[in-house]
Amino acid sequence: MEVIRSQKRTASNDVVSNPKIPLYLTAPPLEVRLEEFELFAIDRLRVLKGVSDGLARGKNPKEMDDVVDALWKEHMRHSDASEMLNKDIISHFVIRLVYCRSDELKKWFLSMETALFRHRFRLRNFEAQRAIVGEFGLPYKAVTGAELESLKERLGQVVRSLGQISPSVVNDICCVSVCFFSFLSFAVEAVYYKVPFEEVPDLVAGRRVLIQKGHAFVAGSQLVSLVVTQFRSHISKALILTNRKWMTTIREREKDRLTPIVEALSTTYVGPDYSQSNDYADISLKDIDQVSKSSFPLCMRHLFEKLREDHHLKHGGRMQLGLFLKGVGLKLDDALAFWRAEFSKKVGSERFDKEYAYGIRHNYGKEGKRTDYTPYACQKIISSAPGVGDHHGCPYRHFSEDNLRAALGRMGLSSRGMEDVMDKVRNKHYQLACTLTFEAVYGTSCDVGINHPNQYFEESQKILKSKTPAAPV
């Protein structure tokens, strides 16, 4: 890709006739004007940021499809199809250059580009999807004939194991048509691909495919999993190569031209990670009980209460609560004193020092590879898997309805407020449920939505401090 200063761009050799999604395998032989270099990138960054926001708010896949569709139309559209494709490709490579330069940037770029690809793929029709799969050049064949016959019954079982109708729909008047529709959706699909199970980890994890002797049988409608895995793997490798090239040749060569642009583009788009607490939120040990009741989100309140009750938390809980407290401003020494005070009651202070103190110091970046870990965002907490004896995770997702109601009651929600929250929970909008809780507890609206426990804490502190500026909250 060549960046030039001239006014007119020479005609590109890329022939674009159908709306394919480019795979960004190699930088295309295009010439790009310097102004476009930056502008295209900014537009694409807007799209990626929108994807990031949507995911952080816990939108389900169908909603994300719509989000991506809208974002793409708003920022990346062009009346000329070949211009649109060029912008797509150019902007990707520019952003890749910008975001290859650190681990954190790489991780964000990889997640967002993969999500973008996934939803653009889902928006295409089956023919277009098959064409895209073909482009990857995967050696996997469709299952046919006798083999397909022998698998049919179990493939049917898989389809039926995934089908569900929500209770409310069943009670609708159009019950018959719904049942008919659901019957249709239980049919085994026409085309199945035999791929190694390693290629479709998300389908395996969700038990959404039949697996036999190391092969997964992927339905046509599930192709997205296959290609997304390939796409992510390819981009991941490409990022490493691009980084190497940047470090060895490009950065120096372009230091008067592209490098300043590249460096500027990266700083604007990483959301707050709450790893450094601001002055608002420094808390000390003596305030911690009070502050836990007044400003902690439900997930952290629960962990805190369990810690006080049991004088112990398992690893997942220690990580989730410990990092949250760090983000809230608890200094390392105070943290050690806090956890020691609790754990000593159960295991003794000697055992605490031997087995648990190291972990706390590790969280603050004082041990091991000295990473200063960032507190978990809602997305991470919601997708965690609390098991036996665990109390971490997101109560809106992981608690039973009764337990959740009891917990919300203790937070002071009225019965109507509770119904609104439970409604969100039933629809799996856990972060919206938490936002509604916030709004009910503090009597104000939170338009931006909760997507980080430390955000909940800071917003809460802001409100409480504005009401009683002098008193400790």
Binding site: R154, Q157, V158, R160, S161, L162, G163, Q164, I165, S166, P167, V170, F186, F197, E198, P201, D202, V204, A205, G206, R207, L210, I211, Q212, K213, G214, H215, R244, H315, K354, E355, A385, P386, G387, V388, G389, D390, H391, P395, H398, F399, S400, D402, N403
Partner: protein
């Protein structure tokens, strides 16, 4: 459970442990196959991480050894109470700081067996005979069923061939999948397999810990249910645990039924019959299970969540509960087979998955028994002895023989074949310049 802590004893136990470990390690290192084979990576063993837990809980990670004899030497001089095996890294773990963390020489795991850890304390909410670290013949069958379910799936669904099951020494089992393609799995793929096996999503915060949605079970779950879980639940588990015999016990099960009316109907019926029955605990339990099944059968159309309530109850009690975190990451360390468990003194012997019903955790040889055996001059203790004599009555003889013939030898053979074939491919391609 006398656990003698003299140096003499430790040396013996460790030599014993060592000899057996050597077999496992040697295999993984592919050194013994044919050390002179040009396709052999002679530095492979040096890149394997070990960890030692010493007296006073001193924990030493990132230990690595150039050769089997330096491992032996280290064990004899450090006297570790526990030896864990980790991943094979890109560079020798004990030299990791010599390499920069950026660019091509990053210190990162390259190969690691796919491992599973099942611990019976994770079943405390469904076993009434023991809790915590205890284990007995009434609850151990939970481990047996877990082995069968997971082993069948690893073989039939995932196509793995080289699977070793090991007693963890006290209250659980470990599983090591050593196929080459298993060793090369990424963290994401390991996580996927762990999630595939995950059914129980419980802790004290939710009542319905197993939620089977959909209109039928996934073929893996269906096969496990029909072939293993159902029979186990209605037979051995009921006999050992009598899960319906008292109010406390059956209330827990009734809470798993998501329909209040059905719950009260059964609760009333059972409260009434509580005092009048002259049947044994076990018989009462079975009668109530039948009643529950019949009631649910007739009422399951009431709500989708009742459709597979019977299966959910069976899965809650009987289905394997693996520790997900152990399996998901390549850098997770796991106790080496044939170690002696520091608290029980028992040897972590292999378990034959095809005969696991016969395994008795309380009959596993202990360190004191081994010492006695050595002192009385009873056994040869030389593991390299290729004596196929079936009259070998030494305590560990059978375990070692099983380990060798059922696991090590086939794995050795497969590794050798892999080295030879990849070497051949390399030779064929050697005309081309760079392969990537």
């Amino acid at each position: 459970m006398a656990f003698l802590r003299t140096r003499y004893v430790l040396v013996l136990s460790l030599t014993l442990t060592l000899k057996a470990i050597l077999l496992l390690i040697i295999t993984s290192s592919m050194v013994v196959i044919d050390g002179k084979h040009p396709g052999c990576d002679e530095y492979y063993f040096g890149r394997r991480e070990f960890s030692f837990t010493l007296e006073n809980d001193v924990y030493l990670r990132y230990k690595s050894f150039k050769s089997v004899s330096s491992l032996e030497h280290a064990i004899k001089s450090c006297f570790p109470y526990k030896i864990d095996i980790g991943a094979v890294y890109s560079v020798d773990p004990d030299k990791r700081h010599a390499y920069s963390q950026t660019g091509t020489n990053v210190f990162t795991p390259v190969e690691r067996e796919l491992v599973f850890d099942i611990d019976i304390t994770d079943y405390d909410d469904v076993r009434y005979c023991c809790s915590g670290a205890d284990v007995c013949s009434k609850c151990w069958p939970l481990m047996t069923v877990a082995i069968k379910v997971i082993h069948t799936s690893l073989k039939e669904d995932f196509g793995f061939k080289h699977i070793l099951w090991v007693f963890s020494g006290r209250r659980g089992v470990h599983c090591w999948v050593c196929d080459p393609k298993a060793r090369r799995m990424t963290n994401e793929q390991r996580s996927a397999v762990a999630e595939y096996f995950r059914v129980y999503k419980g802790n004290e915060n939710n009542a319905r810990k197993v939620a089977l949605m959909g209109y039928s079970l996934h073929p893996f779950l269906a096969r496990s249910y029909v072939d293993l879980l159902k029979g186990f639940f209605e037979g051995e588990l009921q006999a050992n645990q009598s899960i319906f015999s008292t109010k406390d016990k059956y209330d827990k099960i009734l809470e798993m039924i998501s329909d209040e009316d059905i719950q009260s109907e059964l609760r009333e019926k059972w409260e009434k019959s509580a005092n009048r029955s002259s049947l044994s605990e076990e018989a009462i339990s079975l009668v109530r299970w039948d009643q529950l099944k019949n009631t649910l059968q007739s009422k399951k159309h009431k709500a989708p969540t009742l459709r597979m309530c019977v299966e959910e109850i069976v899965f809650t009690f009987a289905y394997p509960r693996i520790d997900l975190e152990v399996s998901k990451q390549m850098n997770h360390l796991l106790k080496a087979p044939f170690c002696v468990h520091p608290k029980t003194g028992r040897v972590c012997v292999p378990i034959d998955p095809n005969n696991c019903d016969e395994f008795d955790p309380l009959a596993v040889p202990t360190l004191s028994q081994l010492i006695e055996e050595i002192n009385s001059g009873g056994s040869k203790m030389d593991v390299d002895d290729d004596d196929d004599d079936d009259t070998d009555t030494s305590l560990l003889g059978k375990s070692i023989k099983f380990f060798r013939s059922s696991f090590l030898e086939p794995l050795l053979k497969s590794c050798k074949e892999e080295i030879e074939s990849s070497y051949k491919t390399k030779i064929d391609k050697s005309k081309d310049s760079f392969s990537w």
